[in-house]
Symmetry: C2
DNA sequence: AAATTTGTCTATTTACATTTC
DNA sequence: GGAAATGTAAATAGACAAATT
């Protein structure tokens, strides 16, 4: 029986357990999940301390703990010792970034579509291949992880990203997301924790969530990871891995300094961290910095995907896996796909050898420069982070906007952008910013139209909310 | 302190905990894992009862329980109430079925490679596509799960497998393994249990193991699932799903009767089981039985892959997902792959519409009939299960062979086959049989050579073990 | 700087259900 | 068919460590 009545205490959540059958901890977790999903408990709400709740319900502390843990693993809660348990910031949000199917008249600047018109070298190469007598053999099974020749051409490609590797350490995957999923599934267990930037690639968030892997935001100063924050995460948060995007970070466009790369590499070596270096944009840079992986090759799984620098339809990515992790990653890829597409792998290999891939990448760079100059022209009065060769810009909003509010406003004006909230990890309070996918609009004129609409939306005179309809 | 000395009890495992630091349960689990992996404890060994071990180590029963549970989730142990805990039959085995890279002179009848020469219709279709002006658009991102047109053509294809479905319920995956992994990752949690045949497709075993999902062998009578066994598994083993291959089962070649399909469907509906119907071979059959899914469309995820009936290089499979599961499966596919290959999806769609895929399938059927007739000719004196159109045969061995022994013997004679042991789930005692992949040898003459060598190996006079070297 | 708050983790107790003998 | 053997699962207890005040 409860020691005293809690009627007058303002407890943020008072579940009624009078009707439960079956295990208590499951019932509590289910009630909690239901209350979060139906909006009874809103993101950011602080739950009562576990002891208080246990006392109120007249059950053991550990039973509450266990119930909360279940919800935490589902990404619904976020708990810190000494501070309390909170409903996760993104508990109610849909984290899947997908173009809307029936968004007529909306200009898409949300999903990261690279320029869609640059496919001539790819098609030409395939045309050459298809007339060869042995072309049909490419419809057999491929080897999991790719053939030696495919790995060798991969190594050649990576040298353009300032990374020299042994072809034996290369494993081919069906695109960058496939690579991430294989690394997560193959090298981590449910319940493991991975440190990330406070804002990160949503595809990592959803894959980690599905696999029961927790993401822990790491401390930053001036956009760079701090050594203290890393040490803290290792010691206290007990992370077993780290995910970073050192070049042209998604979504903030920041490029990690060489000093931070070295520092991170040192800590990774000392703490035996599994580091995932997502080099998603690195090949867009003509002379990128040496990758993190080059400072700690035994710890880092380096991923180079072709989606953003060549074409997403190729569905090919290269993983550079240290010896100690290679087998497990290959097995995970096998479990998820059996094999990559031999046709696509061969196509890409030939493009690398012939130099056609270089041409494609160069065309992407110049197209990106052109598009970025348009953005600069219309948004010159604002802070719009990003490099000329990049495919995203990060628009820092005037203080009066939240990212969500601006996203809604832009949508009313016919432009889809993605707000900072969509990239948030854990309970980080999101910055006031939105990501612009500058290569997603079909044409330069569409881009121009979109940026113009956005710029108008930013002007103080138009800052009237609810002028059309609410943003819920 | 232990109540009495156990020195004279014959305990199969006596870990020494004198040197442990950190949690007891972890230390015990690690020692156990190490002992299994180094062969100190061999598959099938019965471990001491948890209580006895707890008493011996002078610790609590639950601490042992927890340690054992860790190992069980890794697939190392197999426990039954009232019976005891055993080292899993396949704890030491490598479950990945891959062709050996440097197996010179070995004829491959292990992995399920379909006939590799039947690619003309595919190549011809691609040649038609590639000259169209819009071909380059197929190198954009595809929609996760496929476009409506791709789903509609998928529905058309499935009608040939006696299954009429709403195109909206179709989701495209990058091959059958990708479909299985997405269903497992999207609809099950680590620790969940799935009932399977006692012998089953190893790709399911490895994917489930990676995701922490346990496979439970179901009871059979005359190769058919029994109603009692199913009810038992639901009630006692607490399974939340079932995986079956009703047509041309892998590896036993058995086709599930219509009565069993109905029975299974009824139980699935009553118990709300998630059923995975792997129709991997169904399209090889000219008029297959109505699929299990047609009897319980709300419960069954039906997978039709093109690898075995058309070509593995296409990397396309169709999942028919009931409304209640469709969203989660689509999200899981997104997490693992972002999208399928639009080129391949389009290629397959056009082949379905043009009728070329039918031609390809028909050619596979006749090639399979031809190859099966060769097998029948040389192995006429033995029990070799399998249908004329199938790509595998299941050779029941004379009693004096175990599958493993015969596999080793065949290998010495230059033929790779896969023994029953490779397909075993849990602690089922494996039957004396091997699987023959009849379409894997490059040519008919290689097949003939292989089957002849196998037949000679079966003759009693040659039954001398160790005549060349040991089979370890 | 010390005390308090708060979540985490391991080990334990207890009840239970199934299988075997 | 009942007793014993055996694994499973939930709830509890207690120690611990980090964060806050």
């Amino acid at each position: 029986m409860p020691v005293n009545s809690f009627e007058d205490y303002p407890m943020s959540w008072k579940p009624d357990l009078s009707d439960v059958k079956g295990p208590l901890y499951k019932a509590i977790a289910e009630k909690l999940e239901h209350n979060i999903k139906t909006g009874v408990l809103t993101p950011g709400t602080r739950l009562p301390p576990q002891r208080e709740l246990a006392d109120f319900l007249d059950i053991n502390l550990s039973t509450i703990s266990r119930a909360f843990k279940l919800c935490e693993q589902k990404g619904l809660l976020c708990a810190t010792v000494g501070n309390g348990t909170f409903v996760a910031a993104d508990a109610a949000a849909n984290p899947f970034l997908l173009p809307e199917e029936d968004a007529l008249g909306i200009i898409e600047m949300g999903p990261l579509f690279p320029d869609m018109t640059i496919t001539e070298e790819i098609v030409a190469q395939l045309k050459k291949m298809i007339i060869e007598p042995d072309f049909g053999k490419l419809f057999r099974y491929g080897r999991p992880g790719g053939t030696l020749w495919q790995k060798e051409t991969g190594a050649k490609l990576l040298r353009k990203a300032s990374y020299s590797v042994n072809p034996e350490n290369i494993v081919l995957a069906s695109g960058g997301q496939n690579a991430i999923a294989a690394i997560l599934a193959g090298l981590f267990q449910p319940g493991d924790r991975i440190g990330t930037d406070a804002l990160t690639f949503p595809g990592l968030k959803t894959a980690a969530k599905m696999l029961g892997i927790q993401l822990i935001p790491l401390q930053h100063e001036n956009n760079e990871l701090t050594e203290a924050g890393l040490r803290y995460a290792c010691k206290t948060e007990n992370i077993s891995g780290i995910y970073v995007i050192p070049d042209y970070h998604n979504p903030t466009t920041h490029t990690m300094s060489a000093a931070t790369r070295k520092m991170l590499a040192e800590i990774a070596k000392k703490e035996c961290l599994i580091v995932i270096e997502d080099a998603i944009h690195s090949l867009l840079i003509e002379s990128p910095l040496a990758p993190l992986a080059s400072y700690a090759p035994e710890q880092v799984l380096y991923i180079a995907s072709l989606s953003k620098v060549a074409s997403p339809g190729l569905r090919i990515a290269y993983i550079v896996a240290p010896d100690q992790y290679r087998k497990k990653v290959t097995e995970a890829l096998y479990n998820m796909n059996t094999s990559i597409s031999p046709v696509m792998a061969e196509l890409v290999s030939r493009m690398i050898i012939s130099g056609d891939l270089d041409k494609t990448i160069a065309r992407h760079r110049s197209q990106n420069r052109l598009r970025n100059s348009i953005v600069d022209r219309y948004l010159s009065g604002y802070k719009v982070m990003g490099e000329p060769e990049g495919i995203i810009r990060w628009l820092i909003l005037p203080e009066r906007f939240t990212g969500e509010a601006f996203e809604a406003k832009a949508y009313q004006r016919g432009v889809q952008v993605y707000s900072a909230e969509r990239f948030v990890v854990g309970n980080t309070s999101p910055s006031n910013a939105v990501r612009l996918a500058i290569t997603a609009p079909e044409s330069l004129s569409k881009l121009e139209e979109a940026v113009l609409a956005g710029a108008e939306g930013l002007e103080p005179s138009t800052n009237g909310f609810g002028d059309h309809y609410s943003t819920n």
